[in-house]
């Protein structure tokens, strides 16, 4: 199932056979134990003295390499192990077994030097000082990270400009909207020019405009600064827009590692057709599956591997009352949802 695809930036072989990874995980397993207690009176003593323990495997022998400069989407259903991985990479959690190196360092043992070189952002939390303006949090960070003054001034001006934060700098963090707070948190995270950024659900709860802003900014720092970015999200379309490579987790294992096109190929070359017709009755297409209709617009899906596009177009040309048509790749959400269903079914 694994389809390891490395893009140009991923393979950095220079004469010798050494490859320097931004992130290297080797057979990493992370297990938690959960107490299992029944609500029955006869189990009272057992619950008290020897409660049953259930071992939950959050990560199961995960191995992966991420090269400097890559932009990687790390995805999976709820409970697949995404946040656990990011916490292991940032030294908050220790794996039960296996080896982890981030920028060549051990995240737990070398936590302090590593934190000077990476940035971590948990989308649902903030690192800003609640009772202070954003500018004070920026100054606070400069002192804690011991950022040289010139570097701090340069980076501060840069993030304020790129993230359009001029108006936010003197606003109290508690008064920011979610989108503004995420921008401020992102700017704060970037002040020490991290080589690697770990983002856990950065687009969670953002409106369309704020999301666009964030995606464009992340793409830009990845492209222009060569910053390695690992991002988790439930929004697959966002991930596809941002990242070059996707690692899909399923029940703690890597179920897929490669490009988005390769991921689509797993479920066949699924494409969608949108037909606009004169009436609200959906025309019958023999080679495609009807998905939805509304206000004279009808959507169908077909597998371009088994039905070539010209053949499909030929069939559509025989239909009456079609005023417009459009064909596009199936949304990655739908592809992945299909994969999740397949994996769960075993």
């Amino acid at each position: 199932m694994q389809n390891t695809v490395h893009n140009d930036t991923a393979t950095m072989v220079t004469g010798a056979d050494t490859i320097h990874s931004a992130i290297s995980m080797t057979d990493v397993t992370k297990q938690y134990s959960q107490w299992q207690r029944s609500g029955k009176a006869r189990d009272l003593l057992k619950n008290l003295l020897h409660p049953e323990k259930k071992v939950v495997t959050a990560l199961d022998a995960v191995s992966l390499e991420i090269a400097p400069g890559e932009f990687v989407a790390y995805a999976g259903a709820n409970g697949a192990g995404k946040s656990t991985t990011l916490k292991i990479l940032s030294g908050i959690l220790q794996p039960s077994s296996g080896g982890v190196r981030v920028l060549g360092l051990d995240p737990v043992r070398d936590r302090i030097p590593l934190m000077h070189r990476i940035g971590v952002l948990f989308g649902q939390r903030t690192e800003m000082w609640w009772d202070h303006p954003v500018a004070s949090s920026f100054d606070w960070k400069a002192t804690v990270w011991n950022i040289p003054k010139e570097e701090y001034t340069r980076m501060r001006e840069l993030v304020v400009e790129l993230l359009d934060m001029g108006d936010l700098m003197h606003t109290f963090a508690r008064e920011l909207s979610l989108g503004q707070r995420m921008r401020a948190d992102l700017g704060l995270m970037l002040l020490h020019s991290p080589e690697l950024i770990l983002l856990d659900e950065p687009t969670l709860g953002l409106d369309v405009l704020a999301k666009r802003h964030m995606i464009e900014f992340l793409k830009r720092i990845n492209k222009e600064n060569g910053t390695t970015i690992v991002v988790t999200s439930h929004d697959m379309d966002d991930l596809e827009e941002m990242a070059q490579r996707i690692i899909l987790l399923s029940e703690g294992r890597i179920a897929f590692d490669g490009g988005f096109d390769a991921l689509r190929d797993l479920t066949g070359s699924l494409r969608h057709i949108i037909l606009t017709t004169e009436s609200d009755e959906a025309p019958m297409l023999r080679s495609a599956t009807w998905l939805s209709s509304g206000e004279n617009v009808h959507e169908y899906a077909f597998d371009a591997n088994s039905i070539p596009v010209p053949a499909m177009l030929a069939e559509i040309s025989t239909l009456r009352g079609v005023v417009d048509m459009e064909t596009r790749k199936a949304p990655i959400e739908r592809v992945i949802a299909g994969l999740y269903r397949q994996w769960r079914a075993g």
Binding site: M12, V13, T14, G15, A16, T18, H20, Y32, P68, N78, S83, T84, K87, S90, G91, I92, L93, Q94, S96, L103, G104, L105, V108, R109, D110, R111, I112, P113, L114, M115, H116, R117, V120, F122, G123, Q124, R125, E127, W129, D131, H132, P133, S136, W140, T143, V144, W145, N146, I147, P148, H192, S193, E195, E201, L204, G226, H234
Partner: protein, 308 residues
């Protein structure tokens, strides 16, 4: 350690990324300079809060003062009614109450912000994650992040005033050794409360939800009991309150010794010794809990940010 990554990288890559991969200059030259830098930073943040949110800040300071004065009043009135209690005269009781207010003030001053004194909240709420992503040793963060010398100074100033007034009435001023002893006792008493909070609070590593407020309960125990002169209790009870339940260590024992009164038959250095022992136990228990945290982390936040 950053040099290790250097060694592992291929030659040309090193040259290309020399700037990005080189360790940043001017990093911590020593723990003490780091401590003072971060104390200064915390002081600046506190001053900014005072300047920007003066009304809230003054309200907080006033309510702290009222709460503490109310706590002192009961014992003081009892002492006035019976012309001294627990083997102490009225002025001696006042000295002890002033000392207790200084302890509260010092605790508030150094550990009053971001729950560094109430460690079970930090652990139980998953706030350790925020500390672990900072490039600063955790003990240094815990020692410095709570420092609020401006908004947290009201209790200490009040305590020093009461202590000074009582000391003058008791004619105890003028001896530098006595003042030094007072300073050491104050530091040791604060260390006892802090260590006790960390020992009890570390249980939150194992039960984050149930244990979130245990440090508050531990500190509340001192709030309730530390102001009582224990001289009237039977000797075994005095010993219990100076060992297992160390409320007596926080005000009664040190002030009794400073005033040359008998205190459970314990020597003057007992408080400092207890602070060292409790501090060692707290360090051991907290470090053990941290290993648990590294194993299980905090499960307080769901995927969508709701706290359980």
């Amino acid at each position: 350690m950053a040099d290790k990554a250097y060694a592992a990288a291929p030659e040309s890559e090193l040259q290309n990324n020399a700037k990005r991969f080189s360790p940043p200059s001017g990093r911590h030259s020593g723990v003490f300079s780091l401590l003072f830098r971060l104390w200064r930073l915390s002081a600046r943040m506190d001053m900014l809060w005072l300047l920007r949110d003066t009304r809230t800040c003054l309200l907080v300071m006033t309510s702290d003062l009222i709460g503490n004065a109310a706590g002192m009043a009961g014992i003081l009135l009892l002492s006035a009614r019976f012309d001294g209690i627990g083997g102490m005269s009225q002025d001696q009781v006042l000295f002890m109450l002033g000392y207790a207010a200084c302890i509260d003030g010092l605790f508030m001053l150094f550990f009053g912000m971001v729950n560094t004194g109430y460690i079970s909240r930090v652990i139980g709420r998953g706030q350790l994650d925020h500390m672990l992503i900072q490039p600063v040793p955790l003990p240094v963060q815990l020692l410095t992040a709570g420092f609020i010398p401006f908004s947290g100074s009201s209790l200490l100033i009040c305590g020093l005033g009461v202590t000074g007034y009582a000391a003058a009435r008791l004619d105890m001023w003028g001896n530098p050794t006595w003042v030094l002893g007072m300073g050491i006792n104050l530091a040791a008493s604060v260390a006892v409360i802090l260590a006790f909070s960390y020992i009890i609070g570390s249980s939150a590593f194992y039960a984050p939800v149930a244990g979130e407020e245990v440090s508050s309960a531990a500190i509340a125990f001192f709030d309730v009991t530390k102001r009582f002169p224990l001289g009237g209790l039977p000797l075994p009870m005095q010993v219990v309150f100076c060992t297992v339940l160390p409320a007596g260590l926080v005000a009664w024992l040190p002030t009794a010794r400073l005033m040359n009164l008998p205190a459970a038959g314990l020597p003057a250095f007992f408080l400092v010794l207890s602070a060292l022992v409790l501090g060692t136990i707290a360090t051991f228990v907290f470090r053990k809990g941290l290993k648990q945290y590294a194993k299980y982390g905090s499960q307080r936040y769901s995927d969508h940010g709701h706290r359980r």
